[in-house]
C-alpha cells in the first residue's frame, strides 16, 4: 500500500496516565546482572541527552549520584531476583512505580545464573566460595515477573538499544511500543541472509527465538544462541528433533538451550528433556 | 413486539399467540387454558423469592418480569428478564420445586397463572398432556441455558486490547 499526501494530522495526546505538564520520572535499578542492559541506555550516545531532556532521570546509580526511592512514572528494572533482600526490595519498588518495565534476559527469565535453578544451589555456592555460610542467596534466580506484576518487558542479553528507544518513544507519543514477537528468521530473511542452518548445518535457535537483536549472529557467521529468549509458540521440540537428524547429540542440543534464557519454560524444557 | 398489557381475546387466544405455547395442538391448548387463570401483576410486585417453594408456573402474556439473584456485596442483580410469551416459575414442575431466582414485575404485567399442585396433578394424570407440556418447559430452560452461556463469554467486555 502507499500513503500519499497526508497534509495535516492531529497531535497524539501524551500518555493519559501522566500529567502532561511535567517530565515523566524515570528510574533505573538493578538486581543480579552484569549492568549491560542499563549500560545500553548510556550507549544511546546520539539520543542520551534528548532522553535526559524528555525524561527526568531520578534514579540511575551507575550514572548519577542523585538518588530516589520513587515515585517513578517508569521504572526500568535490570537483573534477576536471587536474594531475599532483592525479593523484598522489588515489592517496595513496585509500589512506587506507575509502569514497571523489566529489561534484559536476567529480569525477564532469570539470566544465565538461572542455571542454578536446575541444579543444587549449595553445590554452586560451595564450588565458588570457601565459606559458603557467608553467602546469602536464594536457591533460584527468577524473573521479576515471578515476584511482581510487570507492565512491559524488553528481552535480550543485552537488550537492544533500538527497542529501548522504541519503548521510550512510544511512551512519549502514547503509542503501543512496537516490539514484535516473531522469529529471528523473519529479520534474518529481510536482511537477505541465506539460512545458516540450511546451508551449513550450524545449530541456530533463530526459528524459536524472539526477534529484536537484528539477526546479528547469522549475519556474523554463527548460529543464533537465543539471547532474546523464546518467541510465542516456540516449537523447540521440533527444532531439537531436526538438530538430532543433522547430527547433534542430545547433550549438545541441551547446551544450546542452557544459556541466557534457560529460565524461560520453552528453553528450560529442552534442557531437562535432553540432559 | 408490542407489550401492551391490555390485549383482547381469550386466555386460549393469548396462549396461542405466546412464543412458548403457540406450537401446542389446539385441543391441548384448551386443556391448558382450563388449568390457567389470567392474573395482572403490578410493577414492583414480587412473584416469588430465590429458595421459595415454587407453588406456581406462569406464562407471561404482557409486561416484563425480572429474574434477580442476590449478591450481598453488590446488591440484587437482574440476570434475565422474562418477556411476553415466555415462562416464569418452571421450577414448579421440576423437583425439588424450589425457585432458583427472585421474580419481580418490572412493569405492569399479565400472566397466565398455573397452580403448581394442580398442574403437577394434571400432568401426572394425563400422559399426553405431559408429553405435550414438558418439552415446552425443556425448550424454554434450554434457551435460557444457551443465553447464559453467551452471557458468560462477556462478548462486549471492555478489555484494553491494542491490535495496532
Amino acid at each position: 500500500m502507499t500513503a500519499t499526501g497526508i497534509p495535516l494530522t492531529p497531535r497524539p495526546q501524551p500518555n493519559p496516565r501522566w500529567a502532561a505538564a511535567r517530565r515523566p520520572r524515570v528510574g533505573v535499578v538493578k538486581f543480579s546482572s552484569c549492568d549491560g542492559c542499563q549500560l545500553t541506555m548510556l550507549d544511546l550516545e546520539d539520543e542520551l541527552l534528548a532522553i535526559t531532556e524528555r525524561f527526568e532521570i531520578v534514579e540511575f546509580a551507575e550514572a548519577t549520584s542523585n538518588r530516589s526511592h520513587g515515585p517513578f512514572d517508569v521504572l526500568l528494572v535490570e537483573g534477576s531476583i536471587s536474594t531475599s533482600d532483592q525479593a523484598e526490595e522489588i515489592v517496595q519498588l513496585r509500589h512506587q512505580a506507575t509502569s514497571l518495565v523489566a529489561i534484559g534476559a536476567c529480569a525477564t527469565s532469570g539470566g544465565i545464573q538461572a542455571l542454578r535453578n536446575l541444579g543444587d544451589h549449595d553445590a554452586f555456592r560451595k564450588a565458588v566460595y570457601p565459606n559458603p555460610q557467608w553467602i546469602e542467596a536464594l536457591a533460584t534466580s527468577k524473573p521479576v515477573s515471578e515476584y511482581v506484576a510487570v507492565d512491559a518487558e524488553l528481552y535480550g542479553c543485552p537488550i537492544s538499544g533500538r527497542q529501548l528507544l522504541e519503548l521510550l518513544t512510544a511512551l512519549t507519543v502514547g503509542r503501543r511500543a512496537q516490539l514484535p514477537d516473531e522469529a529471528v528468521c523473519a529479520e534474518c530473511k529481510r536482511l537477505g541472509n541465506p539460512c545458516i542452518l540450511v546451508t551449513h548445518g550450524v545449530a541456530c535457535l533463530g526459528p524459536v527465538t524472539r526477534t529484536g537483536c537484528g539477526a546479528l549472529c547469522p549475519s556474523f557467521g554463527r548460529g543464533c544462541y537465543g539471547c532474546f529468549g523464546p518467541r510465542e509458540s516456540a516449537n523447540t521440540p521440533s527444532l531439537g528433533d531436526w538438530l538430532r537428524t543433522i547430527g547433534y547429540g542430545d547433550d549438545e542440543i541441551a547446551r544450546e538451550f542452557a544459556k541466557f534464557n534457560v529460565g524461560a519454560p520453552a528453553f528450560r524444557q529442552m534442557v531437562e528433556d535432553k540432559s | 413486539m408490542t407489550t401492551s398489557p391490555h390485549r383482547l381475546g381469550t386466555l386460549e387466544d393469548k396462549l396461542a399467540a405466546a412464543w412458548l405455547t403457540h406450537g401446542v395442538r389446539p385441543h391441548m391448548r384448551g386443556v391448558l387454558a382450563a388449568l390457567a387463570e389470567s392474573r395482572p401483576v403490578a410493577a414492583g410486585q414480587v412473584l416469588f423469592r430465590e429458595g421459595d417453594l415454587s407453588d406456581f408456573l406462569a406464562v407471561v402474556l404482557a409486561g416484563r418480569i425480572g429474574l434477580r439473584l442476590r449478591v450481598p456485596e453488590r446488591g440484587p442483580v437482574t440476570i434475565l428478564t422474562v418477556e411476553p410469551g415466555d415462562v416464569v416459575g418452571w421450577s414448579a414442575v421440576v423437583p425439588p420445586y424450589r425457585a432458583t431466582s427472585t421474580a419481580v414485575a418490572l412493569a405492569d404485567s399479565e400472566v397466565a397463572y398455573f397452580n403448581g399442585v394442580e398442574l403437577r396433578a394434571a400432568l401426572d394424570e394425563d400422559d399426553s398432556l405431559a408429553a405435550e407440556f414438558y418439552p415446552l418447559v425443556l425448550r424454554a430452560v434450554a434457551r435460557r441455558l444457551e443465553g447464559t452461556r453467551l452471557q458468560l463469554l462477556d462478548l462486549f467486555s471492555q478489555r484494553w486490547v491494542e491490535p495496532w
Binding site: 500500500m1 500513503a3 500519499t4 499526501g5 497534509p7 495535516l8 494530522t9 492531529p10 497524539p12 495526546q13 539520543e47 518513544t169 503509542r175 503501543r176 512496537q178 514484535p180 516473531e182 522469529a183 528468521c185 523473519a186 530473511k189 529481510r190 541472509n193 541465506p194 539460512c195 540450511v198 551449513h200 548445518g201 533463530g206 526459528p207 524459536v208 557467521g221 509458540s233 516449537n235 527444532l239 | 413486539m1 412464543w19 425480572g66 437482574t78 440476570i79 434475565l80 411476553p84 410469551g85 415466555d86 418490572l106 434457551r143 435460557r144 444457551e146 443465553g147 453467551l150 452471557q151 463469554l153 462477556d154 462478548l155 462486549f156 478489555r159 486490547v161 491494542e162 491490535p163 495496532w164
Partner: protein, 660 residues
Amino acid sequence: MVNPNQTAYFLPRGDLDLLIQSLRSDDRDVVGPHVRDGALVLDEIESATDLPVGVGALNAPGRSNIVEGDGTRVFDQPPGAMSWKRWTFPPRVTQAVWTDSEGPIPARQIENPPRHITRKAFLGVRACEIAALRIQDKVLMGGPVVDSDYVARRNDNLIVAVECAVAGGTCFCTSMGTGPEVTDGFDLALSELDDGFVIRVGSPAGWLIVEELPVTPATDGQLADARASVSRVRDQMPTTVATEGLPQQLIAAAESPRWQQIAERCLACTNCTLVCPTCFCTSVSQHSDLDGRSASTERSWDSCFTLDFARVAGGNFRPRTADRYRQWLTHKFATWTEQFGSFGCVGCGRCITWCPVGIDVRDELMAIAPPSADPVRIELPIRTPIQEQHRPMPWVPATVIDKRRETADAVTLRFRTDYAPLLAGQPGQFVMASLPAVAAPPISVSRFHEDGFELTIRAAGAATAQICALERGEILSVRGPVGRGWPVEQAIGRDVMVITGGIGLAPLRPLLDWLIAEREHIARIQLSYGARTPADRLYTDELAKLARGGIIEVAETVDRAGPEWLGRVGVVTQVIDRVMCSCDRTVAFICGPERMMQATVDVLHERGVPDERIWVTLERHMDCGVGLCGHCQLGAKFVCKDGPVFSLAELGPAFAIEGL
C-alpha cells in the same frame, strides 16, 4: 550481425561478459546469481567473474549445499536462496514521512520520500521466477488499487531469462506448469550450451542489447541442443504435485487432522513465506523520534505465520500454528486461484529447501488433498499491464466539527471534508484513520452527511484513544471510503431485522439512516440491540425517538443490570428468537463479535431465514484497507475490499470454521 527475422542467436561462452557490460552500459544495475558465505544468492553483478562459474548446488528439504560443478558452466544451479522480489518488492520501504516545525508531534508531511530506483537488468531469471513476477504483478498492480512503489520498481526491469539445465531436488515447476521451458515474459532468454549460449530475443529492448553483441545466428544444431538440455530437466523432474482439483480438495480438507500433525513440526518461523517469490503480505510500522518532531511509516515484509498477523481488538483469528499453516497452504494452492486466477505457487521449491526442519510442501499437499477424480485446470494469468487508471487511494484531511460522548469510553466525532468520494460513501463502508507515529486503524463510518461523516470510536487502544481525544477544529487524515457496504436494495419490500451488539451498532447506523429515508418501501424495521450494561448503549436518545415515532421497532437488551434498570436483560439472541417474524420476507443485517453473530445466525436459520438474506460485517486485522497488505484474508476473500459486509451465502463454510 543481427537480422530482424532471426530471433535466436549464439553467444560464445567467452563473450558472456560482453552481455553484462552492454547491460551495464545501458545504464542498468545488473542483478544475478552469486556465491556468498557458501550459498547461492542474488547480488549486483559487475562482471562475468561475479557469476557462479563452475558451481553447483544440491537442494533437499531443509538443506542446500554449494558443490563443485562443471568447470566452465555458469548457470547449472537450481533457484538460489533469494527471489527477485527483493528488488521489485523490497523487504522494507519507507512510506510517508512527517516533520513538524515546532513539535512536539509531527504535523506537516513531506510528500512520499523521493525514491531513487535505478534501472535494473535481472540476469538469470528462471521460468518459475518469470511466472512468480507475473503473479506479483497481478496482485500488486492488477487493481483496483495499485502498489505505486511496486509499479515504480517493476517499470523498466530488463529480464534476461535462463533456461534451467539442471533440476534441483526440491524443484516442481513441471507440476505447477511454470517451467522448465522459458516460453515468454522475457526480453532475452539464454540457454547454456557447453561452448556458449543460445540467446532468444523476446522484446525490442532485448533487440537493442543483442545488436551490440558479437552473436551469430543460432544453428539448428545449437537450437536442438538447447531444446534437448531443457527437456532433460523436465525428465529429471517427475510430476510430484497433482494440481488438478487441488483447490477444491484443500478447501474440503479444512478440518483435516493433518494440519495439527504438521503444526507439531512447523516452527512458524516465516522462512517459507519470506523466501517465496509470490508471497506479498506486509505490515506497516510507525517510527518517530524521541521529541516527536518527525515520524514516518515503513512497510515491511510480514508473514501469515506470525501471531500479530491476525490480531484484532479482542483477540486473534489464528492463534495456533495449525491455523497459520493451513492459511498459508490453502492460500497458495486454493484460495489464490479464486482471488487472482492462478496458483500462488510456481514450484520453485524454496519453501522446501529453506524450511529449517525440512517440511516438504509436496508431501503435505498429497497427504491432505490426494488427487481427485474431477480435474479442474488453472491457467497462469497473462502478463498484467500496469493499470494506468488505477491510483493509490489518497489520504485526505477531515476536520472535527462536533464531538459527542456516547459512553464512558466511546465518542462520536463529526468530521467535515470536501472529498467527494467520502460524501458519496455507502452504509457499512469504513475509513483508514492515520495517526502519525501511532497507527492507522480501520474505523467504520457511523453516518454520512452532505458535508462530511461521523465516526463512533471506542478507546480500545493507543490509536483509538487518541482519536477519541480529538477536539473540535483538529484534523484527522483518512483514506476511504473503503470496502463494500450493506446491500441496502435488499431491504426494499422486506421485513428488515437489524441485529447488533455493543459498538457494533456504529457501522449499522448509516444503514438505519437509509432504511428510515426509504421507510415507505420497507415493510418492517426491527432493531435488536444488545449491550453489556445499560451504560454501554450507543445513540440512546436517537433510538428512543425513533421507537416513540413508531418508525422502527427497537428491542434493547443488556447482559447484566442493577435493579434500577427496567428494560430487557438477556442476550440479543433471546430477543430475536421471540420475534414473530414472517421470516420468508425477512432480510437480516448483523454486526457484532463473531461469536454473537454465529449464535444469531443459528436462530435465524431456525426461523427459516436463508443464507442469501443474512448479511454480516466482519472484523479482521488491516494495515492497508485496499487489498494489498494481505492481513485480512478470510478464505478467498479480502475482508477490506470484498467486504467487510458479506452474506452467509458468499462466505459459505468459511464463517463457521475456527481459525481461518
